[in-house]
Symmetry: C2
């Protein structure tokens, strides 16, 4: 594979950053992950806007390069792939001194891609079955400490959640995703996904007012459901609400819409709402990209 690092295409083995890069030293970087369908990044504007929002929140508003999309396209072309996972990172780069962020920023910009199956109507999901989901003790970082609505390289919170899954599985297979609750005990999100569930009253998902990252896929799913006239409620929900749901699923750019098979060992599973939304999502990808 070839990656795009600091404005240049380089072979994977040469794709490096300085050990003094603040992305490495402090996780002081913004990122986005997205899907590429038929050679074109899906929902590019939404991802670019959020990357910009993260950069602004972290005080390096001018660091996102104007030609970022071209860098993504060049990376795809260099690797000759049209169906891909893509990760774009912008770090505060190397700065003099230690922790203090300096106004003068020479950012490090990295684009990574890897092949994925086709999406859309004739596509295959990247997962091999419904997700097993398990609640963990690790709580979501509250926004008063680090804003939950930015996507940064500080990802230990989610890693600690996943680590709990591995530790509790012993020699067995860990669950696919953890449920992180906020410090008040409301369900917030997975380590890399948003949570949805279905009750007799319609589709529900934790509110973006809570400490969570409201993903691009989450927004699309809400829009698809509302376009079909299904009631969508966002709010503060307990674990029991999720466990007792008729259907539940996870969303992120890579997984798209992944049914939740079990929560803490309790069967939940897909159903007509999940399946319809998956179909609508596939249609949207198909129409836009193939």
């Amino acid at each position: 594979m070839q990656y795009h690092v600091d404005g240049e295409l380089v072979p994977e083995d040469d794709a490096t950053v300085s050990v003094l890069d603040r992305g490495f030293m402090y996780g002081d970087a913004a990122f986005e992950t997205l899907r590429v369908y038929g050679g074109v990044p899906f929902e590019w504007d939404a991802h670019r806007d959020r990357l910009q929002y993260t950069a602004e929140t972290l005080g390096f508003a001018d660091a996102v390069p104007a030609d970022l999309r071209e860098r993504v396209d060049e990376t795809l072309a260099a690797n000759d792939i049209e169906e891909a996972y893509c990760k774009v990172s912008v770090s505060r780069g190397v700065q003099p001194g230690t922790l203090d962020p300096q106004p003068q920023v020479d950012p490090t910009v990295v684009v990574i891609v890897k092949p994925l199956p086709r999406g859309g109507r004739d596509g295959d999901p990247v997962w091999d079955g419904p997700a097993t989901v398990q609640t963990v003790r690790t709580r979501q970082v509250p926004s008063e400490a680090v804003p939950a609505d930015i996507k940064s390289h500080n990802y230990l919170n989610g890693i600690l959640g996943r680590l709990e899954l591995r530790r509790s599985a012993g020699d067995g297979d860990p669950a696919d995703e953890c449920v992180l609750r906020d410090t008040d005990g409301n369900i917030a999100e997975g380590a890399t996904s948003n949570l949805f569930f279905v009750t007799e009253n319609g589709l529900r998902t934790p509110s973006a007012e809570l400490d969570l990252l409201a993903g691009v896929t989450r927004d699309i799913v809400i829009e698809l459901a509302r376009d079909e006239g299904f009631p969508v409620e966002t709010g503060a929900y307990s674990l029991d609400a999720l466990r007792n749901a008729d259907e539940a699923f996870l969303t992120n750019s890579t997984w798209e819409i992944r049914p939740i098979g079990t929560v803490d060992g309790i069967d939940v599973g897909a159903g007509p709402m999940t399946k319809l939304l998956q179909r609508l999502y596939d249609e949207r990808v198909e129409t836009a990209h193939y």
Copy 2:
């Protein structure tokens, strides 16, 4: 300068990590910063133990190399410096897949040094005056989200605190350190330092039971004060307690004991207790290293 990366001494410009290194992608790494006096790392065992503790907490207990001390010594020798700042990092390295931490770890180990003035009785502090300190809105990450007693490359919490200082300073000079409170409003620590203050009842510092990293220098200062028969109290304190103190100071390995000049513009300053502890600290360094 030459740095030690992955077992090799390399010139600074070649000191890099892969863009796929989890240290860069997620801040998924442990670190320590320490002082080297007279060619010998100060309180090496305490720093090494904490590095090991962080690595264990993050699930890569076996990643800290047995020859870590030799790598530090080699780096000092290669740069021909005996008085130094030293940062040692161990990341989970490159792993297959995305976020899920895998049990099989090929860590990335980095040692960075840079020259500092001599320490001890005839030493000079690295700072040029008492610290101006300002309270920020950003709160400490609670341990239920990410344990506060590990030292990881997830450092945005402190960076956001420092960023508030810069933003509130406008075109002026930002304060030297921020005071982060925990989510309950107790004072916790600075972005890179522990807080101490002096009242008529003795020396006080926020309890290690709170969400903070109890530094190696903090431990030494508590020990020095107790050895002199001064009462030391640890507890949960308000901002007012700090602002109204007779004396106050910050500690970390690099600053050692740095007086606090002002808190939120209120004069606090050094006094006999701070000066005595500085002298005792210098003696300890002098005796051990020169």
